[in-house]
């Protein structure tokens, strides 16, 4: 077994995660965690859909922000994809997508305030970076032969419209639809920083202990996501896109003086602002590094590694739930329901709920990240096993699982896992806003203390960390010759 590089890499990551568990803080600190969890489940079981009219407004705003943000992101992402072969464009896109939606929202909040533009840009900017990368990969894979056969003198645009786009249209549409779903999740969690979407109402009902209201919101959100194939129709899409900007709400007007001050004063490192020169700057930077950046980086990496392995273990445990090689239709249907709930709950909301119930430590974050990402990978792998035909006399039960299925899907499992590595790290950093000591915690505290210069430095560090993990993940995938496709 040890002679397989995939096994050796897996064991290495497992060992790192186990070591991480020893240094990580994974205590449950609330007095009655199970009673709180029970009350929460009772709340979900007895949802109250009619407590306030705010619920429907929040749902509408969530959809509106999601649509406008994803539409702008996909439009500009497509334009960027056309010039994606240029190195500066690639670096720019890697940078804007390495910064999480919530960080973008926190930045824009400082100068646009609670204006709809804040939420729209917070989704559109990182999504444009992601769309640019994936669209360009899809375009690259299109068959080059038809465009070679066009009569010389065909304009580049006509050639693109006829020989390129139709070939990738289905993939582009599928991916954009998938991203729209992600956009609705992003839109929902923007509420946690104060925008008028679902997260805002979830947080306020939770803090008042109104679990039935919170449950109603979660159920509506699942219904919204699960029914997307019904209400998102190509024919209706133009109508949605035209209408969405009018449902973003008024917010507060932008004070342009704030915008100017933010760029010319707030984000300039304070020693430079106060004329302390380079000496002041380097001691200021040293202070930021030692007191905030390094502990933040350390905790982010530890939590990411633990969550990555937990995600992997959960995916491996979860995929038989929907695989046709195990159990009957009843088990598979309930497996589907479980995985749909796990993957359509944004990890941020999962982590928020678990943190309220178990108290602040890394445990809720690990469980939330593993549930969400494990739900996604488990679903993809389970679907993949359904395409496998086993011989009629194949063993059953655990032997079937360990001898027939896992070896067949292990490589693509690893491919998905390493693909999501960067995503898990992005989320880990952001979960700091909830009070876990990852980079997001230090960014959030710097903003609370009106030290935007510190916040910007920490956001830049977070972005570089994400880019680093992305590069490393791609390196490992290439080393192990793992195929990946832009599916998740």
């Amino acid at each position: 077994m040890l002679s397989y590089p995939t096994v050796r890499v897996s064991l290495l990551f497992l060992a790192i995660a186990v070591a991480g568990l020893f240094v990580a803080d994974i205590a449950i600190t609330t007095a009655n965690p199970w009673r709180d969890l029970g009350q929460f489940f009772i709340g979900v079981a007895t949802p109250n859909f009619f407590s306030t009219e705010g619920l429907l407004t929040a749902l509408l705003r969530t959809v509106a922000f999601g649509f406008v943000g994803v539409a702008l992101g996909s439009f500009f992402g497509f334009l960027l994809a056309l010039v994606y072969r240029l190195l500066p464009v690639r670096i720019f896109c890697a940078f804007i997508r390495a910064i999480h939606e919530l960080f973008w929202a926190l930045i824009f909040l400082q100068f646009f305030g609670f204006h709809p533009l804040t939420g729209v840009l917070a989704i559109a900017i990182p999504y444009a970076g992601i769309f640019a990368k994936v669209y360009s990969e899809i375009l690259e894979e299109s068959d080059p032969e038809p465009s070679r056969l066009l009569p010389p003198g065909t304009s580049a645009i006509a050639s693109f419209l006829y020989a390129r786009i139709p070939d990738c249209w289905v993939q582009i549409r599928t991916y954009t639809a998938y991203r729209l779903e992600c956009g609705l999740r992003s839109s929902a969690i923007l509420g946690f920083v104060g925008l008028p979407t679902l997260g805002f109402y979830l947080e306020s009902s939770f803090s008042q202990g109104m679990y039935s209201d919170a449950g109603a919101m979660l159920i509506l959100f699942y219904v919204l996501i699960a029914t997307m194939p019904i209400w998102v129709r190509p024919k209706l899409l133009p109508a949605y896109l035209l209408a969405a900007p009018f449902f973003l709400g008024e917010g507060f007007p932008i004070v342009w003086g704030n915008v100017e001050r933010f760029f010319t004063e707030d984000i300039v490192p304070s020693p430079l602002r106060n004329g302390e020169g380079l000496a002041g700057l380097s001691s200021w930077l040293g202070d930021v590094m030692i007191t905030e950046a390094l502990p933040g980086i350390w905790n982010t990496i530890v939590l990411t590694q633990v969550a990555l392995v937990a995600t992997g273990l959960l995916s491996l445990l979860a995929f038989p739930l929907i695989s046709k090689h195990f159990g009957g239709p009843v088990r598979r249907t309930s497996g589907h329901v479980f995985l749909v709930i796990a993957r359509s709950t944004p990890e941020y909301i999962l982590a928020y709920i678990l943190l309220q119930l178990w108290g602040p430590s890394m445990l809720p974050a690990v469980v939330a990240l593993a549930l969400h990402n494990g739900g996604i990978i488990g679903h993809l792998i389970g679907r993949q096993t359904n395409a496998i035909e086993l011989r009629p006399d194949a063993p059953t039960g655990f032997t079937r699982y360990s001898w027939e299925l896992v070896p067949r899907v292990y490589r693509s499992f690893l491919a998905f896992l390493f693909y999501r590595w960067e995503i898990i790290m992005r989320e880990t950093a952001i979960l700091g806003i909830l009070g876990i000591y990852t980079l997001g915690f230090y960014v959030d505290s710097a903003i609370q203390n009106i030290q935007f210069d510190r916040a910007m430095i920490l956001i830049l560090i977070t972005a570089s960390l994400n880019i680093g993990v992305d590069v490393l993940g791609r390196f490992i995938r290439r080393k192990l010759a793992l195929q990946t496709m832009p599916t998740c």
Binding site: L150, S159, D167
Partner: protein
């Protein structure tokens, strides 16, 4: 001018020379059949010629190069994308003009696939796909034809129909063919390729099928 003369045609994959060096001269009005074993270098030679003759030649490659997601009509229309301004091409993508619909409809009718005009290329059979690629080459109406096994997936009556249409419309052609009888029936000159070089080059009228079989 629609003949050509090239010296030093050659191509390699890695270290392995697959074509040439060879010289080939084709005069206007000649229909040249390239014959020879699979792997002799016929396809590579057609590719080399197309690289040099892009402006004057319609190509039917072995892979056909259809856009699977587009209907047959648009795949054929692509043969004249250079003839129209961008707005015209873009509108055609959404809703073709009657004039073009009629012309392409007639063309497809001649190849017995007019009923497939609005069907995506992806859902066609092998023989139907081949005829779409041929229709595209005919529609482009360049002075010369380069074709690589254009009738390999067609039944015999259809193969005759296609070879006649191709040799009627194009005044000059170079066609790689497997079928020796077809080559003798429709082409005026036979060029036999063996290990990347010309092993036979004679007017079709002076050859029998048995003379060509020596190459195989």
């Amino acid at each position: 001018m629609s003949g050509f003369a090239f010296n030093d045609l050659s191509a390699s994959f890695g270290d392995k020379r697959v074509v040439g060096p060879l010289s080939l001269e084709v005069q206007q009005g000649q229909h040249v059949a390239l014959v020879g074993k699979s792997g002799a270098g016929k396809s590579t030679l057609i590719k080399l010629l197309y690289e040099r003759l892009t402006h004057q030649a319609s190509l039917v490659p072995q892979g056909l190069g259809l856009v699977n997601a587009l209907p047959v009509f648009h795949n054929v229309f692509m043969g004249q994308l250079d003839q129209h301004p961008l707005w015209y091409n873009t509108l055609t993508l959404i809703r073709p003009f009657r004039k073009d619909r009629d012309i392409i409809g007639t063309l497809l009718n001649g190849l017995s696939i007019s009923e497939k005009q609005w069907v995506p290329a992806a859902s066609l059979s092998g023989g139907q796909r081949q005829r779409v690629a041929i229709a595209r080459a005919l529609y482009r109406s360049a002075p010369m034809l380069l074709a690589d096994e254009p009738i390999s997936a067609l039944d015999e009556p259809m193969a005759h129909l296609v070879m006649k249409a191709l040799t009627d419309q194009f005044s000059t052609s170079v066609i790689a063919l497997h079928d020796v009888d077809m080559a003798l029936a429709y082409c005026t000159r036979i060029v036999g390729i063996q290990d990347g070089r010309i092993a036979l080059d004679q007017p079709a009228s002076e050859l029998q099928a048995a003379d060509i079989m020596a190459l195989y």
